[in-house]
Protein backbone atom coordinates (compact mmCIF):
# COMPACT_ATOMS: atom_id res chain seq x y z
CA UNK A 1 0.00 0.00 0.00
CA UNK A 2 1.26 3.51 -0.85
CA UNK A 3 2.05 5.81 2.04
CA UNK A 4 -0.89 8.07 2.68
CA UNK A 5 -0.23 11.78 3.17
CA UNK A 6 0.15 12.91 6.78
CA UNK A 7 -2.87 14.55 8.37
CA UNK A 8 -2.53 18.26 9.19
CA UNK A 9 -2.16 19.13 12.89
CA UNK A 10 -5.35 20.43 14.48
CA UNK A 11 -3.47 23.54 15.61
CA UNK A 12 -3.03 24.48 11.95
CA UNK A 13 -6.78 24.62 11.42
CA UNK A 14 -7.32 28.16 10.30
CA UNK A 15 -9.67 30.79 11.65
CA UNK A 16 -12.77 31.57 9.61
CA UNK A 17 -11.55 33.36 6.46
CA UNK A 18 -11.44 37.15 6.23
CA UNK A 19 -12.14 39.12 3.03
CA UNK A 20 -8.62 38.74 1.55
CA UNK A 21 -8.47 35.00 2.15
CA UNK A 22 -12.06 34.65 0.91
CA UNK A 23 -11.14 36.38 -2.36
CA UNK A 24 -8.03 34.21 -2.79
CA UNK A 25 -10.04 31.06 -2.08
CA UNK A 26 -12.80 32.19 -4.45
CA UNK A 27 -10.29 32.75 -7.29
CA UNK A 28 -8.70 29.37 -6.64
CA UNK A 29 -12.11 27.63 -6.64
CA UNK A 30 -13.19 29.47 -9.81
CA UNK A 31 -10.01 28.25 -11.53
CA UNK A 32 -10.64 24.69 -10.27
CA UNK A 33 -14.26 24.55 -11.43
CA UNK A 34 -13.40 26.11 -14.80
CA UNK A 35 -10.71 23.44 -15.24
CA UNK A 36 -13.23 20.71 -14.42
CA UNK A 37 -15.65 22.18 -16.96
CA UNK A 38 -12.92 22.11 -19.63
CA UNK A 39 -12.10 18.50 -18.69
CA UNK A 40 -15.77 17.57 -19.10
CA UNK A 41 -15.93 19.30 -22.48
CA UNK A 42 -12.77 17.47 -23.59
CA UNK A 43 -14.30 14.10 -22.68
CA UNK A 44 -17.67 14.76 -24.34
CA UNK A 45 -17.79 17.25 -27.20
CA UNK A 46 -21.16 16.05 -28.48
CA UNK A 47 -22.98 18.66 -26.37
CA UNK A 48 -21.18 21.43 -28.24
CA UNK A 49 -22.60 20.10 -31.51
CA UNK A 50 -26.16 19.48 -30.28
CA UNK A 51 -26.33 22.88 -28.59
CA UNK A 52 -25.13 24.53 -31.80
CA UNK A 53 -28.25 23.46 -33.71
CA UNK A 54 -30.55 26.12 -32.26
CA UNK A 55 -28.23 29.13 -32.75
CA UNK A 56 -27.42 27.81 -36.22
CA UNK A 57 -31.12 27.83 -37.10
CA UNK A 58 -31.54 31.37 -35.75
CA UNK A 59 -28.64 32.59 -37.87
CA UNK A 60 -29.34 30.52 -40.96
CA UNK A 61 -33.13 30.78 -41.13
CA UNK A 62 -34.25 33.78 -39.07
CA UNK A 63 -31.15 35.86 -39.84
CA UNK A 64 -31.11 35.20 -43.58
CA UNK A 65 -34.86 35.64 -44.05
CA UNK A 66 -35.02 38.91 -42.11
CA UNK A 67 -31.92 40.23 -43.87
CA UNK A 68 -33.73 39.77 -47.20
CA UNK A 69 -37.00 41.18 -45.89
CA UNK A 70 -35.32 44.35 -44.55
CA UNK A 71 -38.15 44.24 -41.99
CA UNK A 72 -36.01 45.32 -39.05
CA UNK A 73 -34.23 48.66 -39.57
CA UNK A 74 -30.62 48.36 -38.36
CA UNK A 75 -29.11 51.30 -40.24
CA UNK A 76 -25.97 50.53 -42.19
CA UNK A 77 -25.40 47.26 -40.39
CA UNK A 78 -26.62 44.14 -42.24
CA UNK A 79 -29.27 42.39 -40.13
CA UNK A 80 -27.26 39.15 -39.95
CA UNK A 81 -24.31 41.08 -38.46
CA UNK A 82 -26.69 42.81 -36.04
CA UNK A 83 -28.24 39.47 -35.05
CA UNK A 84 -25.01 37.47 -34.49
CA UNK A 85 -24.08 39.01 -31.07
CA UNK A 86 -27.70 38.55 -29.92
CA UNK A 87 -27.62 34.88 -30.85
CA UNK A 88 -24.26 34.51 -29.09
CA UNK A 89 -25.80 35.95 -25.90
CA UNK A 90 -28.89 33.77 -26.34
CA UNK A 91 -26.74 30.68 -26.68
CA UNK A 92 -24.90 31.55 -23.44
CA UNK A 93 -28.22 32.33 -21.71
CA UNK A 94 -29.69 28.94 -22.61
CA UNK A 95 -26.64 27.16 -21.18
CA UNK A 96 -26.57 29.17 -17.95
CA UNK A 97 -30.29 29.32 -17.18
CA UNK A 98 -30.53 25.54 -16.89
CA UNK A 99 -27.42 25.23 -14.72
CA UNK A 100 -29.66 24.99 -11.66
CA UNK A 101 -30.83 21.62 -12.98
CA UNK A 102 -27.24 20.42 -12.76
CA UNK A 103 -27.07 21.70 -9.16
CA UNK A 104 -30.22 19.74 -8.30
CA UNK A 105 -28.74 16.66 -9.97
CA UNK A 106 -25.57 17.21 -7.93
CA UNK A 107 -27.69 17.46 -4.78
CA UNK A 108 -29.49 14.20 -5.59
CA UNK A 109 -26.19 12.45 -6.38
CA UNK A 110 -24.53 13.65 -3.15
CA UNK A 111 -21.98 15.73 -5.08
CA UNK A 112 -23.21 19.03 -3.65
CA UNK A 113 -22.99 17.75 -0.06
CA UNK A 114 -19.43 16.60 -0.74
CA UNK A 115 -18.49 19.99 -2.19
CA UNK A 116 -20.04 21.80 0.78
CA UNK A 117 -17.91 19.74 3.19
CA UNK A 118 -14.71 21.09 1.58
CA UNK A 119 -13.11 24.21 3.11
CA UNK A 120 -14.82 26.36 0.49
CA UNK A 121 -17.03 29.29 1.48
CA UNK A 122 -20.51 29.08 -0.08
CA UNK A 123 -20.01 32.29 -2.07
CA UNK A 124 -16.74 30.92 -3.51
CA UNK A 125 -18.46 27.69 -4.52
CA UNK A 126 -21.32 29.53 -6.21
CA UNK A 127 -18.91 31.92 -7.96
CA UNK A 128 -16.91 28.92 -9.14
CA UNK A 129 -20.02 27.23 -10.53
CA UNK A 130 -21.14 30.52 -12.13
CA UNK A 131 -17.90 31.09 -13.99
CA UNK A 132 -17.69 27.42 -14.95
CA UNK A 133 -21.00 28.02 -16.76
CA UNK A 134 -19.22 30.92 -18.46
CA UNK A 135 -16.47 28.59 -19.68
CA UNK A 136 -19.10 26.32 -21.24
CA UNK A 137 -20.76 29.37 -22.80
CA UNK A 138 -17.45 30.50 -24.30
CA UNK A 139 -16.82 27.06 -25.79
CA UNK A 140 -20.29 27.28 -27.31
CA UNK A 141 -19.62 30.82 -28.50
CA UNK A 142 -16.65 29.62 -30.54
CA UNK A 143 -18.96 27.29 -32.48
CA UNK A 144 -21.52 30.09 -33.05
CA UNK A 145 -18.77 32.48 -34.16
CA UNK A 146 -17.45 30.00 -36.71
CA UNK A 147 -21.00 29.71 -38.09
CA UNK A 148 -21.31 33.50 -38.19
CA UNK A 149 -18.02 33.82 -40.10
CA UNK A 150 -19.13 31.16 -42.57
CA UNK A 151 -22.32 33.16 -43.15
CA UNK A 152 -20.24 36.24 -43.94
CA UNK A 153 -20.72 38.27 -40.76
CA UNK A 154 -18.05 41.00 -40.49
CA UNK A 155 -16.39 40.64 -37.10
CA UNK A 156 -13.83 42.84 -35.34
CA UNK A 157 -10.18 41.80 -35.68
CA UNK A 158 -9.09 43.61 -32.49
CA UNK A 159 -7.89 41.05 -29.87
CA UNK A 160 -8.84 43.44 -27.05
CA UNK A 161 -12.41 43.43 -28.30
CA UNK A 162 -12.42 39.63 -28.11
CA UNK A 163 -11.08 39.76 -24.57
CA UNK A 164 -14.05 42.02 -23.81
CA UNK A 165 -16.40 39.51 -25.48
CA UNK A 166 -15.06 36.76 -23.19
CA UNK A 167 -15.56 38.93 -20.09
CA UNK A 168 -19.09 39.93 -21.14
CA UNK A 169 -20.04 36.30 -21.79
CA UNK A 170 -18.52 35.19 -18.46
CA UNK A 171 -20.37 37.88 -16.48
CA UNK A 172 -23.66 37.35 -18.29
CA UNK A 173 -23.45 33.57 -17.83
CA UNK A 174 -22.52 34.01 -14.16
CA UNK A 175 -25.65 36.14 -13.62
CA UNK A 176 -28.03 33.73 -15.33
CA UNK A 177 -26.37 30.67 -13.79
CA UNK A 178 -26.82 32.18 -10.31
CA UNK A 179 -30.40 33.15 -11.17
CA UNK A 180 -30.93 29.49 -12.00
CA UNK A 181 -29.26 28.32 -8.76
CA UNK A 182 -31.44 30.82 -6.85
CA UNK A 183 -34.60 29.41 -8.43
CA UNK A 184 -33.32 25.89 -7.68
CA UNK A 185 -32.82 26.93 -4.05
CA UNK A 186 -36.43 28.12 -3.91
CA UNK A 187 -38.29 25.39 -5.81
CA UNK A 188 -35.91 22.51 -4.85
CA UNK A 189 -37.15 20.24 -7.66
CA UNK A 190 -35.82 19.57 -11.14
CA UNK A 191 -39.25 19.49 -12.78
CA UNK A 192 -40.34 22.82 -11.33
CA UNK A 193 -37.03 24.42 -12.25
CA UNK A 194 -37.32 23.10 -15.81
CA UNK A 195 -40.79 24.65 -16.08
CA UNK A 196 -39.72 28.01 -14.67
CA UNK A 197 -36.54 28.00 -16.79
CA UNK A 198 -38.59 27.48 -19.94
CA UNK A 199 -41.11 30.10 -18.82
CA UNK A 200 -38.53 32.85 -18.29
CA UNK A 201 -35.96 32.14 -21.00
CA UNK A 202 -37.89 33.31 -24.03
CA UNK A 203 -39.37 36.40 -22.28
CA UNK A 204 -35.83 37.37 -21.22
CA UNK A 205 -34.69 36.94 -24.81
CA UNK A 206 -37.59 38.78 -26.47
CA UNK A 207 -37.53 41.57 -23.87
CA UNK A 208 -33.96 42.37 -24.84
CA UNK A 209 -32.22 44.03 -27.76
CA UNK A 210 -30.99 40.66 -29.08
CA UNK A 211 -33.30 40.57 -32.12
CA UNK A 212 -34.30 44.20 -32.72
CA UNK A 213 -33.28 47.73 -31.73
CA UNK A 214 -34.75 49.08 -28.49
CA UNK A 215 -36.36 51.99 -30.37
CA UNK A 216 -38.73 49.59 -32.11
CA UNK A 217 -40.10 48.25 -28.81
CA UNK A 218 -43.35 49.53 -27.25
CA UNK A 219 -42.79 51.69 -24.14
CA UNK A 220 -43.58 48.99 -21.60
CA UNK A 221 -41.14 46.57 -23.26
CA UNK A 222 -38.44 49.24 -23.27
CA UNK A 223 -38.82 49.50 -19.47
CA UNK A 224 -38.31 45.74 -19.11
CA UNK A 225 -35.40 45.92 -21.55
CA UNK A 226 -33.67 48.50 -19.31
CA UNK A 227 -33.74 46.18 -16.27
CA UNK A 228 -32.85 43.06 -18.25
CA UNK A 229 -29.11 42.24 -17.86
CA UNK A 230 -29.25 40.35 -21.18
CA UNK A 231 -29.70 43.69 -22.98
CA UNK A 232 -26.50 45.08 -21.47
CA UNK A 233 -24.66 41.88 -22.41
CA UNK A 234 -25.92 42.09 -26.01
CA UNK A 235 -25.08 45.80 -26.27
CA UNK A 236 -21.52 45.13 -25.09
CA UNK A 237 -21.13 42.13 -27.41
CA UNK A 238 -22.49 44.06 -30.38
CA UNK A 239 -20.21 47.02 -29.71
CA UNK A 240 -17.15 44.81 -29.37
CA UNK A 241 -17.89 42.36 -32.18
CA UNK A 242 -19.25 44.56 -34.97
CA UNK A 243 -18.46 48.06 -33.72
CA UNK A 244 -21.96 49.46 -33.16
CA UNK A 245 -22.27 52.27 -30.55
CA UNK A 246 -22.17 50.84 -27.01
CA UNK A 247 -21.98 52.21 -23.47
CA UNK A 248 -19.29 49.71 -22.49
CA UNK A 249 -18.63 51.19 -19.04
CA UNK A 250 -22.33 51.04 -18.16
CA UNK A 251 -22.75 47.61 -19.76
CA UNK A 252 -19.85 46.02 -17.88
CA UNK A 253 -20.80 47.87 -14.67
CA UNK A 254 -24.36 46.51 -14.80
CA UNK A 255 -23.16 42.99 -15.66
CA UNK A 256 -20.60 43.01 -12.84
CA UNK A 257 -23.07 44.34 -10.26
CA UNK A 258 -25.82 41.97 -11.40
CA UNK A 259 -23.46 38.97 -11.19
CA UNK A 260 -22.22 40.01 -7.72
CA UNK A 261 -25.76 40.45 -6.38
CA UNK A 262 -26.93 37.16 -7.82
CA UNK A 263 -23.86 35.26 -6.51
CA UNK A 264 -24.70 36.61 -3.03
CA UNK A 265 -28.37 35.60 -3.28
CA UNK A 266 -27.58 32.13 -4.70
CA UNK A 267 -24.96 31.55 -1.96
CA UNK A 268 -27.55 32.30 0.71
CA UNK A 269 -29.93 29.75 -0.82
CA UNK A 270 -27.38 27.01 -1.53
CA UNK A 271 -27.52 25.35 1.94
CA UNK A 272 -31.34 25.18 1.59
CA UNK A 273 -30.82 22.83 -1.37
CA UNK A 274 -28.89 20.37 0.78
CA UNK A 275 -31.36 20.61 3.67
CA UNK A 276 -34.45 20.44 1.47
Amino acid sequence: MSVLPAAPPVASAEQEPGPIRLTRTALSRVATMCLVELQKLRHDRSELVTRAVQPALWLLVFGNVFTRLHAIPTGDVPYLDYLAPGILAQSALFIAIFYGIQIIWERDAGVLAKLLVTPTPRAALVAAKAFAAGIRAIAQAVVVLVLALLLGVSLSANPLHWLGVIVALMLGSAFFCCLSITIAGIVLSRDRLMGIGQAITMPLFFASNALYPVELMPGWLQVINHVNPLSYEVEALRGLMIGTPARLLLDFGVLLAAAAVMITVASALLPRLVRG
Binding site: V3, L4, P5, E16, S28, D44, P119, V274
Partner: protein, 266 residues
Protein backbone atom coordinates in the same frame (compact mmCIF):
# COMPACT_ATOMS: atom_id res chain seq x y z
CA UNK B 1 -7.47 13.13 25.17
CA UNK B 2 -9.66 15.39 22.99
CA UNK B 3 -12.42 13.30 21.41
CA UNK B 4 -12.42 13.05 17.62
CA UNK B 5 -16.13 13.89 17.71
CA UNK B 6 -18.15 15.02 20.71
CA UNK B 7 -21.93 15.52 20.65
CA UNK B 8 -23.71 16.98 23.72
CA UNK B 9 -27.48 17.07 23.78
CA UNK B 10 -27.66 17.38 19.98
CA UNK B 11 -31.15 18.03 18.69
CA UNK B 12 -32.50 18.72 15.19
CA UNK B 13 -36.12 19.42 14.35
CA UNK B 14 -37.68 19.65 10.86
CA UNK B 15 -41.14 21.17 11.17
CA UNK B 16 -42.98 18.88 13.54
CA UNK B 17 -40.51 16.01 13.13
CA UNK B 18 -37.82 15.59 15.76
CA UNK B 19 -35.05 13.96 13.68
CA UNK B 20 -32.41 13.96 16.43
CA UNK B 21 -33.55 14.16 20.02
CA UNK B 22 -30.78 15.04 22.44
CA UNK B 23 -27.96 12.64 21.64
CA UNK B 24 -24.68 12.52 23.58
CA UNK B 25 -21.68 10.62 22.27
CA UNK B 26 -17.92 10.75 22.08
CA UNK B 27 -15.84 9.14 19.33
CA UNK B 28 -12.34 8.24 20.54
CA UNK B 29 -9.46 9.19 18.19
CA UNK B 30 -8.34 6.22 16.10
CA UNK B 31 -11.45 4.08 16.54
CA UNK B 32 -13.99 2.90 13.96
CA UNK B 33 -17.29 4.05 15.39
CA UNK B 34 -20.55 2.78 13.90
CA UNK B 35 -23.77 4.73 14.05
CA UNK B 36 -26.47 2.12 13.54
CA UNK B 37 -30.21 2.28 13.22
CA UNK B 38 -33.19 1.80 10.91
CA UNK B 39 -34.18 4.26 8.15
CA UNK B 40 -35.31 7.51 9.72
CA UNK B 41 -33.44 6.88 13.00
CA UNK B 42 -31.53 10.16 12.68
CA UNK B 43 -28.13 8.77 11.63
CA UNK B 44 -27.76 10.82 8.46
CA UNK B 45 -29.09 13.97 10.16
CA UNK B 46 -26.46 13.54 12.89
CA UNK B 47 -23.74 13.06 10.26
CA UNK B 48 -24.96 16.15 8.40
CA UNK B 49 -24.69 18.22 11.56
CA UNK B 50 -21.19 16.92 12.30
CA UNK B 51 -20.08 17.67 8.73
CA UNK B 52 -21.51 21.26 8.92
CA UNK B 53 -24.17 20.54 6.28
CA UNK B 54 -26.89 21.27 8.84
CA UNK B 55 -26.60 24.00 11.46
CA UNK B 56 -25.75 23.01 15.03
CA UNK B 57 -26.07 25.26 18.09
CA UNK B 58 -22.76 26.53 19.53
CA UNK B 59 -21.08 24.03 21.84
CA UNK B 60 -23.28 21.08 20.82
CA UNK B 61 -20.83 19.37 18.45
CA UNK B 62 -17.04 19.45 18.39
CA UNK B 63 -14.64 17.80 15.97
CA UNK B 64 -11.16 17.44 17.48
CA UNK B 65 -12.10 20.18 19.94
CA UNK B 66 -13.28 22.57 17.20
CA UNK B 67 -16.86 23.80 17.53
CA UNK B 68 -18.71 23.03 14.26
CA UNK B 69 -20.98 26.05 14.80
CA UNK B 70 -18.17 28.61 14.91
CA UNK B 71 -15.16 26.91 13.24
CA UNK B 72 -16.82 25.48 10.16
CA UNK B 73 -13.92 25.93 7.72
CA UNK B 74 -11.39 24.50 10.20
CA UNK B 75 -13.68 21.53 10.90
CA UNK B 76 -14.15 20.81 7.19
CA UNK B 77 -10.38 20.75 6.73
CA UNK B 78 -10.17 17.94 9.29
CA UNK B 79 -12.91 15.83 7.65
CA UNK B 80 -13.12 13.38 4.79
CA UNK B 81 -16.75 12.73 3.82
CA UNK B 82 -18.32 10.03 1.67
CA UNK B 83 -22.08 10.56 1.25
CA UNK B 84 -24.67 7.82 0.92
CA UNK B 85 -25.10 8.17 -2.85
CA UNK B 86 -22.48 7.19 -5.42
CA UNK B 87 -21.28 10.72 -5.98
CA UNK B 88 -18.20 10.54 -8.20
CA UNK B 89 -18.49 12.46 -11.48
CA UNK B 90 -19.05 9.95 -14.29
CA UNK B 91 -17.98 12.43 -16.96
CA UNK B 92 -14.43 12.66 -15.56
CA UNK B 93 -11.69 10.08 -15.10
CA UNK B 94 -10.87 8.61 -11.69
CA UNK B 95 -7.71 10.70 -11.45
CA UNK B 96 -9.56 13.92 -12.38
CA UNK B 97 -12.19 13.19 -9.73
CA UNK B 98 -9.53 12.85 -7.03
CA UNK B 99 -7.49 15.81 -8.28
CA UNK B 100 -10.62 18.00 -8.02
CA UNK B 101 -10.82 17.34 -4.29
CA UNK B 102 -7.07 17.80 -3.86
CA UNK B 103 -7.53 21.30 -5.29
CA UNK B 104 -10.64 22.03 -3.22
CA UNK B 105 -8.68 21.09 -0.08
CA UNK B 106 -5.72 23.27 -1.16
CA UNK B 107 -3.21 20.42 -1.44
CA UNK B 108 -0.05 22.29 -2.59
CA UNK B 109 0.53 22.02 -6.35
CA UNK B 110 4.00 20.44 -5.99
CA UNK B 111 2.56 17.60 -3.86
CA UNK B 112 -0.75 17.22 -5.68
CA UNK B 113 0.08 14.65 -8.38
CA UNK B 114 1.97 12.40 -5.96
CA UNK B 115 -0.78 12.62 -3.34
CA UNK B 116 -3.50 11.84 -5.91
CA UNK B 117 -1.49 8.87 -7.21
CA UNK B 118 -0.86 7.60 -3.66
CA UNK B 119 -4.54 7.53 -2.65
CA UNK B 120 -5.55 5.95 -5.96
CA UNK B 121 -2.99 3.23 -5.27
CA UNK B 122 -4.30 2.75 -1.72
CA UNK B 123 -7.80 2.05 -3.04
CA UNK B 124 -6.49 -0.23 -5.83
CA UNK B 125 -7.54 2.04 -8.68
CA UNK B 126 -4.09 3.10 -9.94
CA UNK B 127 -4.39 0.92 -13.06
CA UNK B 128 -7.76 2.37 -14.09
CA UNK B 129 -7.19 5.93 -12.87
CA UNK B 130 -7.26 7.40 -16.37
CA UNK B 131 -10.43 5.63 -17.42
CA UNK B 132 -13.78 7.40 -17.39
CA UNK B 133 -15.66 6.75 -14.13
CA UNK B 134 -18.65 5.78 -16.30
CA UNK B 135 -16.87 2.47 -16.90
CA UNK B 136 -16.37 1.72 -13.17
CA UNK B 137 -18.44 -0.78 -11.19
CA UNK B 138 -20.33 0.34 -8.07
CA UNK B 139 -17.57 -1.00 -5.80
CA UNK B 140 -14.90 0.83 -7.80
CA UNK B 141 -16.86 4.09 -7.58
CA UNK B 142 -17.12 3.65 -3.82
CA UNK B 143 -13.37 3.08 -3.55
CA UNK B 144 -12.80 6.14 -5.75
CA UNK B 145 -14.90 8.18 -3.33
CA UNK B 146 -12.73 6.91 -0.51
CA UNK B 147 -9.73 8.20 -2.46
CA UNK B 148 -11.47 11.58 -2.90
CA UNK B 149 -12.06 11.75 0.85
CA UNK B 150 -8.51 10.67 1.69
CA UNK B 151 -6.55 12.94 -0.65
CA UNK B 152 -6.65 15.81 1.86
CA UNK B 153 -5.31 13.52 4.63
CA UNK B 154 -8.31 14.01 6.92
CA UNK B 155 -8.14 13.22 10.63
CA UNK B 156 -11.73 11.99 10.73
CA UNK B 157 -13.24 9.95 7.90
CA UNK B 158 -17.04 10.05 7.82
CA UNK B 159 -18.86 7.46 5.73
CA UNK B 160 -22.64 7.53 5.33
CA UNK B 161 -23.86 4.00 4.45
CA UNK B 162 -20.69 3.22 2.46
CA UNK B 163 -21.76 -0.25 1.31
CA UNK B 164 -25.42 0.34 0.48
CA UNK B 165 -26.33 -1.25 -2.87
CA UNK B 166 -22.99 -3.06 -3.26
CA UNK B 167 -22.61 -6.81 -3.82
CA UNK B 168 -20.78 -8.84 -1.12
CA UNK B 169 -17.43 -8.79 -2.95
CA UNK B 170 -17.58 -5.03 -3.47
CA UNK B 171 -18.63 -4.56 0.18
CA UNK B 172 -15.61 -6.54 1.36
CA UNK B 173 -13.40 -4.53 -0.97
CA UNK B 174 -14.60 -1.26 0.57
CA UNK B 175 -14.24 -2.49 4.17
CA UNK B 176 -10.79 -4.00 3.48
CA UNK B 177 -9.61 -0.59 2.28
CA UNK B 178 -11.14 1.17 5.30
CA UNK B 179 -9.47 -1.31 7.69
CA UNK B 180 -6.09 -0.92 5.94
CA UNK B 181 -6.27 2.86 5.96
CA UNK B 182 -7.21 2.95 9.61
CA UNK B 183 -4.39 0.52 10.50
CA UNK B 184 -1.84 2.53 8.49
CA UNK B 185 -2.81 6.02 9.63
CA UNK B 186 -4.68 5.71 12.92
CA UNK B 187 -7.44 7.78 11.32
CA UNK B 188 -10.76 7.99 13.15
CA UNK B 189 -13.63 6.51 11.15
CA UNK B 190 -17.27 7.35 11.82
CA UNK B 191 -19.60 5.22 9.76
CA UNK B 192 -23.39 4.91 9.55
CA UNK B 193 -24.90 1.62 8.49
CA UNK B 194 -27.84 -0.66 9.03
CA UNK B 195 -25.79 -3.70 8.00
CA UNK B 196 -25.33 -5.26 11.45
CA UNK B 197 -22.87 -7.93 10.37
CA UNK B 198 -20.54 -5.33 8.89
CA UNK B 199 -20.75 -3.26 12.07
CA UNK B 200 -20.01 -6.33 14.17
CA UNK B 201 -16.94 -7.21 12.10
CA UNK B 202 -15.43 -3.80 11.53
CA UNK B 203 -16.50 -1.35 14.25
CA UNK B 204 -14.70 -0.94 17.58
CA UNK B 205 -17.77 0.63 19.16
CA UNK B 206 -21.29 1.25 17.96
CA UNK B 207 -24.21 3.45 18.94
CA UNK B 208 -27.68 2.20 18.08
CA UNK B 209 -30.07 5.04 17.18
CA UNK B 210 -33.84 4.83 17.08
CA UNK B 211 -36.32 7.68 16.69
CA UNK B 212 -33.58 10.27 17.09
CA UNK B 213 -32.18 8.86 20.34
CA UNK B 214 -29.23 6.62 21.17
CA UNK B 215 -30.75 3.44 22.57
CA UNK B 216 -27.51 1.52 23.18
CA UNK B 217 -23.79 2.33 23.06
CA UNK B 218 -20.74 0.08 23.49
CA UNK B 219 -18.57 -2.48 21.74
CA UNK B 220 -20.49 -4.93 19.55
CA UNK B 221 -19.58 -7.66 22.08
CA UNK B 222 -20.99 -5.67 25.01
CA UNK B 223 -24.25 -5.02 23.19
CA UNK B 224 -24.62 -8.68 22.19
CA UNK B 225 -23.88 -9.90 25.72
CA UNK B 226 -26.49 -7.57 27.17
CA UNK B 227 -29.18 -9.35 25.13
CA UNK B 228 -28.14 -12.97 25.59
CA UNK B 229 -25.29 -15.47 25.23
CA UNK B 230 -25.97 -16.32 21.56
CA UNK B 231 -27.32 -12.96 20.51
CA UNK B 232 -26.19 -11.35 17.28
CA UNK B 233 -26.08 -7.64 16.56
CA UNK B 234 -29.26 -8.20 14.50
CA UNK B 235 -30.95 -9.36 17.73
CA UNK B 236 -29.66 -6.23 19.47
CA UNK B 237 -31.11 -4.15 16.62
CA UNK B 238 -34.53 -5.87 16.89
CA UNK B 239 -34.50 -5.61 20.68
CA UNK B 240 -34.01 -1.87 20.66
CA UNK B 241 -35.94 -0.84 17.57
CA UNK B 242 -38.74 -3.40 17.41
CA UNK B 243 -39.12 -4.99 13.98
CA UNK B 244 -42.51 -4.04 12.74
CA UNK B 245 -43.30 -2.50 9.39
CA UNK B 246 -45.35 0.23 11.07
CA UNK B 247 -42.17 1.51 12.68
CA UNK B 248 -40.31 1.87 9.39
CA UNK B 249 -39.70 5.57 8.85
CA UNK B 250 -37.93 5.74 5.50
CA UNK B 251 -39.77 8.39 3.50
CA UNK B 252 -40.23 8.84 -0.26
CA UNK B 253 -36.88 10.58 -0.40
CA UNK B 254 -35.11 7.50 1.07
CA UNK B 255 -36.89 5.28 -1.44
CA UNK B 256 -35.96 7.57 -4.33
CA UNK B 257 -32.35 7.76 -3.14
CA UNK B 258 -32.15 3.96 -2.87
CA UNK B 259 -33.63 3.54 -6.36
CA UNK B 260 -31.27 6.13 -7.82
CA UNK B 261 -28.32 4.36 -6.24
CA UNK B 262 -29.56 0.99 -7.51
CA UNK B 263 -30.05 2.51 -10.96
CA UNK B 264 -26.57 3.98 -11.06
CA UNK B 265 -25.13 0.63 -10.03
CA UNK B 266 -26.99 -1.08 -12.86
Amino acid sequence: MTPAVRCSGVRQVFGETVAVNGIDLEVVPGEVFGLLGPNGAGKTTTIRMITTLLPAPPGAIEVLGLDVATRRTAVRRMLGYVPQQLSADGTLTGRENVALFARLFDVPQKLRSAQVAAVLDVVDLADVADRSVKTYSGGMVRRLELAQALVSAPRVLILDEPTVGLDPVARDGVWDRIDEIRAATGMTVLVTTHAMQEADEHCDRVALMHRGRIEALGTPGELRSAIGPDATLDDVFRHHTGNTLTQEKGGMRDVRAARRTAGRLG
